[in-house]
């Protein structure tokens, strides 16, 4: 596994929202999905995952319910709310602008 890369402030929220775009996931599921989406660059440990999930839920972007996992265990599943979907669009747009701007800056001679 790659050495943990410091997540940019706010990036984690964006990644979590993105990971839930296809459907609901429980905590470990989110963590694994982020790893998968970033090809292993980002590993989200529980210490940052759960505070972020609760923060996003508090903001109304995620909703949660208790369900049964693929291993037949009780687990808390998170899904995007309508507001969360809008937020994902907003943040994606923002991120793209930043990414483009920064790559321009770095490629400038």
């Amino acid at each position: 596994m790659t050495s943990p890369t410091n997540l940019l402030q706010g990036t984690l929220d964006l990644l979590i929202l993105k990971s839930l775009a296809l459907g609901e996931l429980h905590g470990l599921g989110v963590s694994r999905r982020v790893e998968q989406l970033t090809r292993g660059t980002f590993e989200v440990g529980p210490g940052s995952l759960f505070p972020a999930l609760h923060r996003l839920e508090g903001s109304g972007w995620l909703t949660s319910r208790w369900g049964v996992s693929e291993n037949n265990r009780k687990a808390k599943f998170y899904r995007l709310s309508a507001a969360g979907r809008r937020q994902l669009d907003v943040e994606t747009g923002q991120w793209k602008r930043i990414a483009v701007a920064i790559s321009y800056a770095l490629e400038a001679t």
Partner: protein, 891 residues
């Protein structure tokens, strides 16, 4: 949506805390389970998998705590926890909590009580609709030195006719009347007002209506508007009172209305409102000034515009009324001021000084409590270090400390509000007359708000003060210190010392102020009033014109009553006078002085006080005669005589002998009889104990009716007696009522009580300030003691080493004293400078003592030094007894 969900989650987080916690626990456990399952799938044994999963999660509690911090509503949650923690801590040290709470309660209580008074008296508008539109118009006689003087009826009528800035101008005269109703006649405050007064004030009677302009004409049907208070007290709140007859001053009057509750005019507390009865066509007697004017500015007129209009009118007055007495720019000005300023003006400064004083007390109290908290902070130093090491942020620690201060201040504020309520009652009960608008004063929402602000600010001070030294390096330092008290604390000491130094400085300022006021008050009470006020009893009698129409009958009445009073056992002499010293209103009567030159640069022939007195007046009052003689019994049948006071002799006769010269009241004709001066009496204070005695001219009551057909209606009797007032009260009452059962006895009291009342405001101020100064002194002493004993405790080891190395006990005491006295002297110096800076503010309240009075300053510095020495001595003694072995081994 987002806000709603935020609020909902917040509420849930706070309300169902245990549910939320259980859910979080379950969620984390399920995470571990899932992870374990994953590892098992990857080939690990269940035990290994579980172990690896737990390691991966790290500290479960740590994760939970981080989640908790993210939760909406956590701020309240934390605040609640901090508050509970604060309460627990305080309950563990009830002594500290009690001292701190009582200190804060006293500080806040006193501040709120005084602020309640200020709020009502100075800040709240007068209780009339649009009260800021009301102005008070007076005249000013620059040459005679009269400010805020009355205005004459023609001046009023002409001003009302010509001025355009006002919707209307009303006039009034203050008086007191006999109200005969039921068995006991009663003396009541009265105002004679023009019919438009109620409209100008913007009030309607609660029953009936105000009197009409027709009822306000001379010789019209007599009517009256009763106050709500007298209507309830004397007339049993009779709903059908309108139309009934009431006897006032021996004359039946028809009640046309009852004023709304609490309606007041210039703090006169009128019980009856009577028509003034000015003749609108009479423009005679232009020089007879006796009206005060209240005017309501038009909605579009500013006070400034009214003022400039007034100047223009004064300018034109002389052209419109040539050759007559009219207002002018130089000697007879008119002036206007907001009614509010006029009513409360002279007491506002005193109130703000009191407010300043209580705020100083509050500051001292805060400093003391901050110091107490600081001591606790020292004790909890290691606790902080551990908390910080375990991950508590500096903000978290700060909040926790503020919470403790919050709990203290909240409880203190609640208690303080109770103290304010109680203290206010006490204050008003003790000094009902010295504060204007006293009936309106109450602890009101503004005061509660004020207290809350004070409380929050105080809490912030308390919370932050102990943390001033809690810098970044605190954790490392505290752990390194390992629980020993070390030299690291220099910064902390600086904070504590400056707190105590500041306390002492504030206390010095307060005590100096109180000292100056006490000296002023003593000067006032020991001032030579010109007569011997001991063993004198006095009361007033008013003979209503309708019952006693003839001057001769009035003079006979008072002569007969004086004789009856004189025959009361234990009464040596009895006399009558018209004006009761020492707080008379100035008469300022124009007077003919035979063969006394007059002119621009010479004093105007105007006498400040007229006094009609009976033959035994000078003897009874023990007023020394400087020249000639006083009145005698034979004057009743003899030629017209007068006695003048020293001030009048000096002003008009200079070095010459006034005996034998003639004077008379100025009148319309030149044929009025003259009075020959037969004596010069020592000055009697008539215009206030703190004022210069004015010029005074005495006439003899007994001869007045025969010489110029004059006798007054209002009299003050004065008896010289060796018996206490209670012992002769029944006899006095019998004597008066044996002559007329309808006459109320007005204010029967000793002359010393009259004097006491005349300085009640000064007494009130000096008493209150003394109490505050005492509290400040006590608090400062406690503060000094606290700091020094703490320093001694902290230096125990050092002292132990010094003793072990051979320091003498005297040396140790000196060591402590030097520290304490340095602190005290610094504080005193600062305080003296502060007090000198405040001299400008206090000057106007002082009498016979300079605001920089060195004796007071020295005395105060000495007292405070003494108290500080005492406060140092106990810790010093403790330091002396330090056993080096114990001290060194101790830590």
């Amino acid at each position: 949506m987002s806000l709603f969900s935020h609020v909902r989650t917040s509420v849930r987080n706070v309300a169902d805390r245990s549910d939320v916690e259980r859910e979080l626990d379950a969620e984390l456990r399920s995470y571990v389970d899932e992870l374990t399952a994953e590892y098992i799938k990857a080939g690990a044994t269940p035990d290994e998998a579980r172990r690896a999963a737990l390691i991966k999660v790290g500290g479960m509690e740590h994760v939970k705590d981080q989640v908790r911090d993210e939760r909406p509503g956590m701020m309240f949650e934390n605040a609640g926890r901090d508050l509970r923690h604060g309460v627990r801590l305080l309950r563990r040290s009830p002594g500290f909590a009690a001292i701190a709470i009582v200190t804060i309660a006293l500080g806040i209580g006193a501040t709120s009580a005084i602020f309640s008074v200020i709020n009502t008296v100075a800040l709240k508008p007068l209780p009339y609709p649009a009260a800021d539109r009301l102005v008070f118009i007076t005249s000013q006689f620059t040459k005679l030195g009269f400010d805020k003087f009355w205005i004459s009826p023609p001046e009023y009528l002409e001003l009302r006719e010509r001025a355009t800035s006002y919707s209307d101008i009303a006039a009034y005269v203050q008086s007191a009347v006999n109200v005969s109703e039921g068995t006991r006649p009663e003396r009541a405050n009265a105002v004679y007002v023009t019919a438009n007064m109620f409209d100008v004030l913007g009030v309607r009677p609660r029953l009936g209506r105000p009197f009409t302009a027709e009822q306000d004409l001379p010789n019209s049907e007599p009517v009256v508007v009763l106050s709500d208070a007298i209507w309830r007290r004397t007339f049993g709140a009779d709903q059908s009172i309108v139309g009934k007859q009431v006897e006032i001053q021996g004359r039946k009057r028809t009640v046309v209305g009852v004023a709304p509750p609490g309606l007041d005019l210039h703090d006169l507390h009128p019980q009856v409102w009577l028509p003034l009865g000015l003749d609108p066509t009479n423009h005679q007697n232009r020089g007879s000034h006796f009206l005060y004017l209240v005017a309501r500015l038009k909605p579009d007129a500013s006070a400034g515009k009214a003022e400039s209009e007034l100047r223009t009118l004064i300018h034109q007055w002389g052209m419109l009324n040539p050759g007559t007495h009219v207002p002018n720019d130089s000697t007879h000005r008119l002036q206007l001021a907001p009614l509010q300023t006029e009513v409360v003006g002279n007491v506002t400064r005193a109130l703000w000084i009191l407010q300043g004083a209580v705020i100083l007390v509050l500051l001292i109290a805060c400093a003391n409590v901050a110091n107490l908290l600081l001591v606790r902070a020292e004790g909890r130093h290691k606790e902080f270090a551990i908390r910080a090491a375990l991950g508590a942020g500096r903000g978290r620690i700060l909040r926790q400390f503020t919470a403790e201060g919050m709990v203290l201040t909240t409880v203190g504020a609640i208690l303080g509000l109770a103290i304010a309520q109680w203290g206010l009652k006490l204050l008003l009960a003790a000094n009902p007359e010295s504060i204007p608008r006293s009936a309106e004063i109450a602890v009101d929402p503004h005061v509660v708000l004020f207290t809350l602000v004070v409380a929050v600010v105080t809490a912030a001070i308390f919370g932050l003060a102990p943390l001033l030294h809690l810098g970044e390096g605190v954790v490392a330092a505290a752990i390194k210190e390992g629980g020993t008290r070390s030299t690291h604390s220099a910064a902390r000491h600086r904070v504590r010392r400056s707190l105590v130094g500041g306390e002492i400085a504030l206390a010095v300022m307060l005590v100096v102020g109180a000292g100056l006021l006490i000296r002023s008050f003593r000067n006032l009470t020991t001032v030579d009033a010109g007569f011997d006020g001991n063993n004198l009893v006095t009361f007033g009698v008013y003979l209503p014109q309708p019952v006693y129409p003839e001057a001769q009958r009035r003079a006979r009445f008072v002569a007969d009553l004086a004789a009856k009073l004189q025959s009361i056992p234990g009464v040596q002499t009895a006399a009558v006078m018209t004006g009761l010293p020492p707080n008379r209103q100035v008469n300022a009567n124009d007077t003919d002085l035979e063969n006394v030159a007059s002119g621009q640069d010479l004093p105007a022939h105007n006498i400040d006080y007229y006094q009609s007195a009976s033959a035994r007046y000078f003897e009874t009052m023990k007023i020394p005669m400087l020249k000639g003689r006083g009145f005698t019994a034979s004057d009743a049948g003899g030629p017209g005589v007068a006695v003048i006071n020293e001030a009048m002799a000096k002003r008009f006769y200079g070095e010459g002998n006034p005996i034998g010269r003639r004077v008379r009241p100025m009148g319309p004709s030149d044929t009025l009889p003259w009075f020959t001066i037969v004596g010069v009496a020592k000055d009697v204070k008539q215009g206030g104990l703190d004022q210069k005695p004015g010029t005074e001219l005495y006439f003899n009551i007994e001869q007045g009716p025969r010489i110029n057909g004059y006798a007054p209606n209002a009299f003050n009797f004065v008896l010289r007696t060796t018996r206490p007032i209670e012992a002769i009260t029944p006899a006095i009452s019998n004597a008066v009522h044996s002559m007329d059962t309808g006459l109320p006895i007005i204010q029967l009291r000793t002359m010393n009580a009259v004097f006491g009342d005349s300085v009640s405001r000064q007494r009130f101020l000096s008493q209150l300030l003394s109490i505050f100064a005492g509290v400040a002194l006590l608090l400062a002493a406690i503060g000094t003691y606290g700091v020094l004993s703490y320093l001694v405790t902290e230096r125990r080891r050092e002292i132990g080493i010094r003793v072990a190395l051979g320091a003498s006990s005297g040396g140790i005491v000196r060591l402590v004293l030097r520290q304490g006295l340095g602190l005290t002297l610094g504080g005193i110096l600062l305080g003296v400078l502060g007090a000198l800076g405040l001299a400008r503010v206090t000057r106007s309240l002082l009498f016979g003592v300079s605001p920089n009075d060195p004796a007071t300053y020295l005395f105060v510095a000495g007292v405070i030094l003494g108290i500080a020495l005492l406060a140092c001595l106990i810790p010093a003694q403790r330091a002396m007894r330090v056993d080096p072995l114990v001290a060194i081994r101790d830590e």
